[in-house]
Each structure stands twice: as structure tokens, then as C-alpha cells.
Symmetry: C2
Subunit: 421 residues, 2 copies
């Protein structure tokens, strides 16, 4: 398959320069969805014609930008099904906050993208545009695949474990998981309220930074860094590293050397015990909260729940409030420890996934490397550009201090440029 | 009007002792709603007959407990309208988490209680059972009034400024605003995600503690304190105190003396500058978040929005992300400062409202004394029992350290018992 993402920054510049129009861009994106999505299955629902017409006429800083919305975000003009038969044809009254922000900015929402059930681990049938025999990752499967295949220039997703960074890595696009609650989650189906983080996908890091900046009005798309002089980059070594596949180890090494060549100082950072402990309690925090957030579904429609979610809900329902509170205390200590790491480094560098997208559609892969940073709430950017020898994408993550999203995006963009050079 | 709340603890004990049955209690509650609610207008919607029948047959630690649900919490068996014509007849797919927890515990949800529009400040027409010419307070107007009038034994509400503690004070019932996120807000309409706090109402403090304990499985209903020996109680003096009416000043003094007589040491606590600053940014945090949470409503249905909410949304839409971030930093420093207060006192004592329920239905009163503690997330319990010379209720709040909800409830119950003695 001809995998060619749509560069959002270029597209916006071309529109602003009068070189093309929203109508032309949106029309081409719709044609690409028509042509490719039978095979990819990134979309579960297309926007109605009147919404597309309104989008063509829209103004704003994202006018003309084809955009995909993960099907756990409410949309007033389309059903929102959360990947669950319990929500078949469910039409929300209002747009989710992030969807309303996208429309306000003029983005052209072309449809709802496939999600695993309730944004958990049960695969939803979307295929990886780089190799349709492989998973695109999850839970934001459709958003990552739609951006990778050039069907849209941007998309939103969410991450409770590794649901933005992992599919970004598998699909060879940029993924951005902001600082916790930088993007609102109002109108997004809750799985675990202290973990669920709305995030974004675009072709490259500069694209996702521009998308985030124009959605939020925040200073997230800064001028490119000329080099990495003065930057201290920590190579984050954790107990999970034994699981990292050799080709990803090599990619990590290459990314580190690229930053070093750009002037950065590389520093070894051994995972503090408090952060190993925090990773270990991610499941307890997540599943206790999920068992409450999805209590109606779990108690009244057990038979309609997919097996991996069901196991999480059963596990969560068996966790006592005291054990949950203990896990939250461990998480809080982890957050403070994560902050202290950034007293000696500007950013951490680590793989976005254990390796390339696994073969088959039976699993969405493993979030082992991502979930700690979801729990701590630190901003993470998955940088595309590296591949296996067979050509499958491998993403590398930049992690910065809480609130320093612009720095993560700037360092990520520099790394991407150096890898491309 | 004969205002006689239903004691939840007594009711549960009577059912467990076989002295009465859920059917009898629920039937009597329904009759009381039939008899009184034409005048009070606490309910906007009654539960369908099949839900009431299921509730009569339910088992669990709250079996037989008539319960009211503020109409910003989703219910699968009834419409959920958020006090807004935009949501007229809107029927959610699922129960909100707190509603599912209530049903799991066996509580008998008899209907949806009136809320101000989107739980803000525009009055909804509910009357105060102690004087129907007065407001019951808001935004949890119907829940407070329904408990005060004995229509239900417990109810849920929410507080973004002072929407639990103030109506509890005005209506002469116990109100409990837990530590931030102790009760889940999933499926509750969001106004401001870093402030919205689900809370509970019941006749007295021991009742609301038992309700909270049985809803959550947490150790929140401890054995009564024999006395206050060893407790240090801070009389919290802030810049807002000048607004407190003389009869409330006298009630505050009486509550303090009651705890002193029970053995407590009273300590003067002058508001730290960091907490005055935190109170001052409450509006900015709230309105910026509301302008995002309700962006769909604000952008597409401006004419359908009530005037006070609309003013908040307009104000919020004009706040820059940088100003919001600065306000959040001030709030974070406030949270830390609040925690440090409890190094020298066990609890703070302050009025739950500026005075008794104001005359008329044109305003729901002033949350000036509550909103700081919503921003900091500390647990608060409004203790009923005191009145003006004319017999109108006055509530006094106990505030404890974040996470020490059981202590706030225990001290509140002791104060309530001493005031009654």
C-alpha cells in the first residue's frame, strides 16, 4: 500500500498562501478514504454530507485540515459507539470539548475512527497501513491508521496505558500525549479518570505541534531548534527494557546518537525504585477506576463486554478502596519522583513500543513502556522516522517535565529532522 | 410546612431489625413526594414504576433507602436534562458511576432532583421546605430540599463553588463534600473538571456518613466520638468574613463553644495569603474550564443558555491559556498551603453560608465561604442543628486535611450531637 501521510503544517501553509483550498484538500481526503478504507478499516463512521459541507466553508486556524475523531469522543452529528454494541447508534446531544475545539478552529471532521472496546485492549479490526497483516496498535487504532494512510492530516485519540504512543510508533506517525488534562476529556468515554489522557496524531512532530497549538491557542509550536547544544538527554533504563526487541534497541541507540551529533549531552538515567513501583500500580489504579466508570455496563450487560475489558473490570471490582488508595499514594510519589528526574536532564529518551507492530490482528501490542508516563502525567511525543530492516516503523519517545509540552515537541521535531537528514 | 427529614441511619437499622420493610419505607416516601412536591418542586422527574418495583426488591447495604439524584447525573431509566432545554427528554444510555453505585448498594432512586442550569447560579424554582418564600440554595437545590422535606433519606449533588454545603445549610440538613474525586464524577455533566465534586445529603451527619460508607465501601462511618478531648479546632478567619451575617456569626461562635465544652482546644487561624489568592482565582479556573466543557452549548445554542451561566461562559472564553495556567499555579500553591494548615489543627470550623437562606427565589445565595475548599479539594461537612431566632437553619462546616474524610464526618457528628443536647 502507498502510505503517504498528509503533512499538516505544509497543508495549512499552502492554504494560507492560496496554493490550494479547503474544498480541494477535503475532497482529496474523502477520495483517499473511499479508496483505502475498505482495506484499512480506520473509520467506523463517515461525517454526514452537511457536516462536510459546513467544514469546507469553515474558517479558523485549522480550516481545511481533514481530521479524524476517535469513536469515544462524543459528536453531535454522528453516533458515538465506544467500540461497544451497547452504544450502537447512540447519538450524543453535544460535541465533546475537544471536538468542539476542533470545529471552532475550523478543522474538517470527516468521520469517527475505530477504537478498541472502551479504549481497552480488544482489537477492533483496523489494519496497519504499512502492512495490512499487522495491527496498527490500539486503542486509538483508527486515528493512527487514518493519519498514516493520509486519509486525514490530524486525529485525536486517548491514552490510559499506551493508546496514543504505541499506535503512533506502529503506524510511523507522530503521536503526542500531552501533560495530564492539557486537552480536555469532557465528553470522552471514561475508562480511568486519573489516567485517561486525550492526545493527537499527525504526520510529523512539527505537524502535531501545530495542530495542538491551533486547537488550544497555546504556545506549543515554537520555532525549530537549530541544534541540541546545551540539552541534557537522559537514556531511561528501566526493568521493562529486557522486553525491548533488538531492532528497537538499535533504533533507540540511533536516536540517541542523532541527538548527540546535534550537540546534546547523553546521560544514563536508571529508573528510580519509586517509578518502578508506580508502574506496578498502574493496573490497580486503572482497573479500580474502570470498574466504577463502567459499572453500569459491567453490572447490567456483562455478556456484551469484550473479554479483555471484562477481565479488567472483574479485576477492578475485586480491588478494595484501601488497596486503591495505597496504589494512588504510590502513584503520587511516582509523580514527584518523575518531576525530580528533570532537575538533571531536559528530556528522557526511550522507545515508544517494544518493537514494530506485531504480526496479526489478534492483539494491539504491549503498552509496557508507555503506561508509567500516563500515570505520572508527563508529556510524551513519539517521533517517527526509524524503521526495522524490513521497513516497519519504529517510534522513539521524548518525555519532559510536567507542563513542558512545548519542549517535548521542540526536541521531538529536532530529532525527527536529524533522523530524516 | 411540616419539615421532618428521614433519618437514614435509623431507617437502615429498622429495616435490618425487621421493624419495617423497604416496601413500606419506599411507599411512604413516594406518598410524601406526592403530598409535598407540588409546593416544593424538588423533583423534576419521578422514577418509572418498574424502577421503583425493582428498588423495592433490591438487596444491598442501602436497600430500602429512598434516594434522589441531581439531574446532572446520567440515569439509564430516566431523562437527564441538566436544567437546560437543550437536553429536554435526553435519555442517557448508561447510569453515571455514582448512580450505578447507588443501585448496586440497593438504594431506591425515586427520581431526578432539580438543578440550576448546568449546576451554575440560575435558580430552578425549587422552594425551601423551611420557608417556601425562600431559596433552598443551589445548585443542588432539589436534592437538599427533598432530603429536608423527608421525601428521600439521601441524595446526591455536586459542588463546583458551594453547591452542596450552601443548600445543606439553607435547608437544615447534613451536606458532605468529599475529598476531590473520592466519589466518581463519571456520567455527571462537567462544568469545571478540576473543581466539580460529587457530594451527598442526608438528615444528619451520622446519616450522611453511613450513606457515604455504604455507597463506597469505605471506612467513613466510624463509632461516635465520646468527646473532643485532644482535638485542636481552628476558627478560620478570612477576608470574606465581613460578609457573614450576625446570626451566622453567633451560630459559628455557638458551634465553637460546643466543641470547646466537649474538650476541644480552639485555635485562631488567620487565612494565609496563599489561600486568599487561591480563592481569588477560583472564578478564572472555573470559567475557563466551563467555556471548554460547554463549548458546544455556548457556540451553537447561545440563546438557550441562562443568563448567569452565559456570563460565566463569555468570561471563560475570554481567558487566555496563559492566564488559566497562572491561576492553576496559584491553586496548586493553595492546595499545598491548605495541607500545611492541618499540621497544627485537626479541623477548621467556619460557617457553611453567609447566613440563612435569602428571601425570594431570584438567587440561590452566595458561595463565598465554600469555593476555596472546592478549589483545594479538602473534605467538608456541613453540620445542621443551629437556627436563626426566626427558626431558619444555619449550617456550620468542618474542614479537614485532604483524604481525612472520616475525621471530618466524625467531628461533624460530635458537633451535631452536642448542639442537639
Amino acid at each position: 500500500m502507498n502510505v503517504q501521510p498528509l503533512g499538516l503544517a505544509r497543508l495549512v501553509a499552502d492554504i494560507e498562501a492560496g496554493l490550494t483550498t479547503p474544498a480541494r484538500i477535503i475532497g482529496a481526503a474523502e477520495e483517499r478514504i473511499d479508496a483505502l478504507d475498505g482495506e484499512i478499516a480506520a473509520f467506523v463512521r463517515r461525517a454526514p454530507a452537511e457536516s462536510v459541507a459546513a467544514a469546507i466553508a469553515a474558517t479558523g486556524p485549522l480550516a481545511g485540515v481533514p481530521f479524524g475523531v476517535k469513536d469515544i469522543f462524543d459528536t453531535a452529528d454522528m453516533a458515538t459507539e465506544h467500540g461497544s454494541p451497547l452504544y450502537a447508534r447512540h447519538r450524543p446531544v453535544a460535541d465533546a470539548a475537544l471536538v468542539a475545539m476542533a470545529r471552532k478552529a475550523g478543522a474538517a471532521i470527516l468521520g469517527k475512527t475505530a477504537t478498541t472496546q472502551f479504549a481497552s485492549l480488544d482489537p477492533c479490526g483496523t489494519r496497519n497501513p504499512h502492512d495490512i497483516s499487522r495491527t496498527p496498535g490500539g486503542s486509538s487504532s483508527g486515528s493512527a491508521a487514518a493519519v498514516a494512510a493520509g486519509m486525514v492530516a490530524g486525529a485525536c485519540g486517548s491514552q490510559t496505558g499506551g493508546s496514543v504512543l504505541r499506535p503512533a510508533s506502529y503506524c510511523g506517525v507522530a503521536g503526542y500525549k500531552p501533560s495530564f488534562r492539557l486537552l480536555p476529556t469532557v465528553g470522552m468515554k471514561t475508562f480511568a479518570w486519573s489516567l485517561d489522557t486525550a492526545g493527537l496524531f499527525a504526520a510529523g512532530v512539527a505537524d502535531v505541534a501545530l495542530l495542538a497549538a491551533r486547537l488550544t491557542g497555546r504556545d506549543l509550536a515554537r520555532a525549530p531548534l537549530a541544534d541540541a547544544a546545551g540539552l541534557r538527554i537522559g537514556l531511561y533504563r528501566s526493568s521493562v527494557d529486557a522486553l525491548i526487541e533488538p531492532e528497537m534497541q538499535a533504533a533507540w541507540h540511533r536516536a540517541a546518537r542523532a541527538l548527540e551529533a546535534a550537540g546534546a549531552t547523553l546521560v544514563e538515567v536508571a529508573e528510580p525504585a519509586a517509578l518502578s513501583a508506580a508502574r506496578d500500580v498502574h493496573g490497580a489504579v486503572q482497573n479500580f477506576e474502570a470498574a466504577h466508570a463502567l459499572m453500569w455496563e459491567h453490572r447490567t450487560h456483562r455478556a456484551a463486554i469484550a473479554p479483555r475489558v471484562l477481565a479488567q473490570l472483574d479485576e477492578g471490582a475485586a480491588i478494595s478502596p484501601a488497596d486503591y488508595d495505597a496504589a494512588r499514594r504510590t502513584a503520587r510519589i511516582g509523580r514527584r519522583t518523575a518531576t525530580s528526574l528533570f532537575e538533571t536532564v531536559d528530556a528522557l529518551l526511550l522507545p515508544s513500543a517494544l518493537g514494530a507492530a506485531p504480526e496479526g490482528l489478534g492483539s494491539t501490542g504491549d503498552p509496557a513502556l508507555n503506561k508509567l508516563w500516563t500515570l505520572t502525567g508527563n508529556p510524551c511525543v513519539s517521533v517517527p522516522g526509524l524503521t526495522t530492516t524490513a521497513g516497519l516503523p519504529l517510534g522513539i519517545s521524548i518525555v519532559t517535565r510536567f507542563g513542558r509540552d512545548a519542549e517535548a515537541l521542540a526536541i521531538g521535531a529536532l530529532l525527527e529532522a536529524r533522523l530524516r537528514a
